[in-house]
Structures are given as C-alpha cells and as structure tokens.
C-alpha cells in the first residue's frame, strides 16, 4: 500500500522517511540547503528544535552527533518549515519517546491547515 502510494506520488510529495532521516552527514547547513528554508524559517527551526530537545543547534553543528530520535525530529521540522505543499512522513513516530510523539503530532496538526500532510508506516 505504502509502496504504491509512493510510486504514484513521488513527484508530488516531499517524502521524509524516518529510516533514513538525514541525507547529508556533516553540518546542519548542508541539510538546510536541501529544504529551501527561508531565513525566518531557519530561525524558527533552531528555536523549535531547542524547545523539543533542550539542545542548542547552530548552522555549523555536526548533525551526525544527534540521537536517532533527534534526527527524526530535525527531519520533520525541516519538512514542516519548508515550502513543500505536500509532505509524506514515513514511520516518524516509531523512534520517538511519548512526549516527543505528542509534540510532533501537535506540530503536524498546526501545519496541516497550510498543506497536505500524510503519515504512513512502511
């Protein structure tokens, strides 16, 4: 079902798979370039990440040192703050603790009025 959905919608959706949350393997800046965030969105990204994890990131932070769950949260924030109109999140809740699952659900709800967000499990 999920594979079919992806095949049919690859060109329409920003696909974010928690099994491979980060594409680059260096500084946050490199990952940011993939998502086309505005300057305001970049600032919001750092603030939201700090609120969720109590961890300070800068654009030169090495994102490979984040925990698995923190990488998933960062991927979700990047997608939600990007200009993408359609986002597919795959397996994003699995590696999150209960508090972060609730926080991510709230974030997705907040952004759902502006865009089409689909959650699926592989």
């Amino acid at each position: 079902m999920t594979a079919t959905f992806i095949q049919e919608n690859t060109a329409r959706y920003l696909i974010c798979d928690a099994r491979q949350p980060l594409i680059t393997a260096s500084q946050l800046w490199d990952e940011l370039l993939l998502y086309n965030l505005s300057p305001e969105a970049r600032t919001e990204l750092l603030a939201e990440f700090r609120r969720l994890t109590a961890r300070e990131l800068t654009f030169s932070s090495d994102i490979t040192t984040l925990s698995g769950g923190q990488k998933v949260l960062l991927m979700c924030l990047l997608a939600l703050l990007s200009p993408a109109r359609n986002i597919l999140f795959m397996d994003v809740m699995h590696s999150l603790d209960p508090a972060n699952r609730a926080a991510l659900k709230e974030l997705i709800d907040r952004h759902s009025s502006l865009r089409n967000i689909v959650l699926k499990q592989s």
Binding site: A18, T65, L66, S67, G68, H94, S95, D97, P98
Partner: protein
C-alpha cells in the same frame, strides 16, 4: 556468562557522558530493556560501551542499529554472494536472515550470545526466533514501545542535556 559495566562516569562523546550509578550486569538467559527519552544515551550506550566489550569476547554478537539502512545494504550484499545466495528485499527479511544465521551458528557450536537491538520494528520477531533456539542468549533492547515481558528495566535519566544517569530501578 555475564557482561559487567562498573560504576563510574563514562565519557561517550566530547560533550556527552553517562553516569553508571551502580555496577550493571548483563547475564545470558535474560532480557534487558533500555528505556529513556530521545537523546538520553541509549544508542550511545549500546554502540560505545557494550559493543566494544562484546567485540573482544568469545560470545556471539548480533547488533541491529537504529535507522539501519547502511547495515541493511551491507547484509543484503553479503547474503547475495553467500552460498546459497539470497536476495533480501525488505528490512524484515534482513532481520530474519541475521536471526536465522545466529541460530544456525549457535546450533553448530553453542556458546553465549548477546543480541543488541536498537529501536527495531522487528524486535519481537527476532527475539522470538532466537530465544526459542538459543537459550544462552542475553537480549538488550532499546525501545519506546513497552517493556518486553520478564525484562529487567535499565533507565536512562537525563541529568543535563550533556549527561544522563543509568540505573536499574528497584522492583518496589
């Protein structure tokens, strides 16, 4: 066989340490559940503390990484060139392959085994395959989805964003 981690402060990364409150002992034939919030150090404990100890021991070792896509490709390539070659398409097939490989080797030459699983969606199936066939196995499982039955809880409690305490809560 018992894997012992003594009390003390372990510097895991430049900016992160784990405080082992009391000596930790991981015994074969038992299951341990590592529980703690995201970023509390569970994965680092597996990869930076337990793994180096076990890689130098004579026991069998199976380690499933969190977000195991790199490991996935390596096992798929390995399985494809072994005899008989197997084409593994999904993460579940890879996990089953590794579990069955451990069982096969254990049955040929029984000795203690340690199975470290970091947030796998297929943890229950893997534990099922191995526990039925390899009684001298110690399972150490990091997960946010409930405590496996009969498992000993190992708690990871952040003290600061850069330091967590590791402890086994008393039963009461």
């Amino acid at each position: 066989m018992t894997l012992s981690i003594p009390t003390g402060e372990l510097q895991i990364w430049n900016n992160f340490s784990l405080w082992i409150e009391h000596d930790l002992e991981f015994e074969t034939g038992k299951t341990y559940h590592l529980q703690g919030n995201n970023g509390s150090g569970k994965s680092s404990f597996l990869s930076r503390v337990l793994l180096p100890h076990l890689q130098n021991s004579s026991s069998y070792l199976l380690y499933l990484q969190q977000q195991m896509h790199t490991q996935l490709y390596a096992v798929q390539a390995y399985a494809a060139v072994m005899k008989p070659p197997q084409i593994l398409k999904t993460e579940q097939e890879v996990v089953n392959y590794l579990g069955n490989d451990l069982v096969r080797n254990y049955q040929l030459s029984p000795r203690p085994a340690f199975v470290l699983v970091d947030e796998s969606r297929f943890e229950a199936e893997l534990v099922g395959i191995i526990s039925l066939n390899c009684p001298l196995t110690c399972f150490i499982l990091a997960s946010h989805h409930g405590q496996p039955s009969g498992a000993t809880l190992v708690r990871f409690e952040p003290v600061t964003p850069n330091r967590s305490k590791v402890c086994i809560p008393s039963p009461n």
